[in-house]
Every structure is written in structure tokens, then in C-alpha cells.
């Protein structure tokens, strides 16, 4: 986020979605959340905190977890609906891993460990 702050003009906006660990989790829950969450990038920190640390102002963080849950379910249902075709096109482990990642994510949401936020913040100026 620091890098985004630098390249924005004064008055410019950063807007984005982020999947992150629910703040206030115990360290044990936090480890569990990271296991269930997305694997592509390590950091799952609270986006409001990240924005503030990077120097952004007028930060709004909106919890969009209920919609995120629906998106996970839609992915899972569609993957199961097309299972035969997907299995024919993908490596066997690929289909299983993709589906497992999405189910893990759903499990993390339902356990109250993972959430998704829309974050909007501004560079002063």
C-alpha cells in the first residue's frame, strides 16, 4: 500500500477488495485463518490498518463478507456442476486443489476467521 500511496497524485483514490483475517483473533485462530485463506500472497493484515500506516486519509472499510460468502458458494456450485468437463480438461489434482481452496475459504468465513472488505482511501492533497 505504501507503493500505491507514492504513485498516486494528491487527492487520488485507492480502492480495492481484500480478503483478510478478522481482527481480534487469537494467535491460534489467526494461524488457522491463514491456512484456510488465499495462498497467493502472504499478508492478510487488516486493510484499515495498512492504509493508515501507508499515510492514507479518509479511509472507509466496508465489510463485504456476506457477498464474499455467496461468491465462494457460486464458484463451488459451478465447479461441481461442470465437474466432469473440468476433470477432463484439468489435471486430477488441479480440480481437487481448486475446489478445496474454495471450500477452505468458505469454511474460514463460516468459522468467523476470514473476512473480505472493500477499502477506499485517499492521498491527501
Amino acid at each position: 500500500m505504501g507503493a500505491s500511496h507514492t504513485v498516486l497524485k494528491g487527492g487520488g483514490i485507492l480502492a480495492g477488495y481484500s480478503i483478510h483475517v478478522r481482527p481480534t483473533l487469537s494467535s491460534r485462530e489467526s494461524i488457522n485463518a491463514r491456512e484456510l485463506g488465499p495462498s497467493f500472497v502472504g499478508g492478510l493484515e487488516d486493510p484499515g490498518y495498512l492504509a493508515k500506516t501507508a499515510g492514507f486519509v479518509d479511509t472507509r472499510v466496508m465489510d463485504v463478507t456476506p457477498h464474499f460468502r455467496e461468491t465462494c458458494i457460486a464458484w463451488i456450485e459451478a465447479m461441481e456442476f461442470f465437474e466432469e468437463e473440468l476433470r477432463a480438461e484439468l489435471d486430477q489434482s488441479d480440480y481437487r486443489d481448486e475446489l478445496r481452496n474454495k471450500k477452505d475459504m468458505l469454511c474460514g468465513i463460516d468459522k468467523g476467521l476470514l473476512m473480505r472488505s472493500l477499502i477506499v482511501c485517499k492521498k491527501e492533497g
Binding site: 504513485v7 485507492l14 480502492a15 497467493f40
Partner: protein, 161 residues
Amino acid sequence: MLFLDDVFLARIMLFSSRYMILWSSAINEKYREHLERQRRRYSRPRDVWSKVERHAFGRDVGLNGYTSPSEAKDLVEFVGVPGPVLDLGSGGGWPGKEILIKSEQRLVVAMDIVLDGLQESQRGMADTGDEERFRCVVGDGQSLPFAAESFGLVLHADALC
């Protein structure tokens, strides 16, 4: 297409080249597993994924994450902010392409660590009449190769996580 390993040069060239690749062995090392996974993903046949997306979300946008078309609408609302737009962690160009269509006259830069997705997004832009305003940069979003104060809007769709 330009291959650059010099950030200063990159800053000068960005606005004149449609493609830019900023690469180093350190990036390869740092993101090895991620790169392998994503390259595999983009080499898959699109047909069946296209059906999956249509079934799930009613549209095939080349989604590589959880930013559904209805969520992307909330990001598109910011297109009024003046200045070029940076779509960071753009994957296959989502939601950058949507922003491009809605933001007349504005330059949209899609950046990702994975070349394959950006190539897919360029193919999707071909012949839309908007491709001249669409630039792709391959590199690490943690050290952005742009001059300070270049953009009016920076978008992330799941790239922060």
C-alpha cells in the same frame, strides 16, 4: 513489447509502449510457487472455465479471484477521479478492462507479476477500439516502477491479500 531491468528507463517508456516487463531473478525466486501455479492456470483451456463463470456469475470476465461482476461495479464508480488508472494485481485484466470501457479517454495500466494473464487481457482488448489506452506492465507490485504522483486512481481486486 519492452523488456526492461531499469526502473528509471521504465518510467520514461511506460507511456509510449503497450507492454513492459520488469523482471529479475529475485522476483523469480520470491514468487516461484505462485508463478508456477498461475502459469498453469492461464494455460488451461478457457472454454469450460467460461461456462463455469457464466453459471456462477452470469458473465465470463476471466475472473481469477473473488471480485464478482457486481463487486466490480462498486470499483467502477470511482472512474470519475481524474488521472490515469492503475489496476494492480490485474490477473487476466479484471476489473481493469471494465474500468477502461467506462473511463473514456483515460489511460489504464494493468500490472501483475504474471505475464500470461496480461497477455490474455491484451487479446481480450484487441479490436475494441480502446486498446490504445490499455498498457500492461509485468513486475512486482511491491516496488512500483512508476514516477511518484502518476495516477489518479489505484485499484486492487484481491491483490492486497
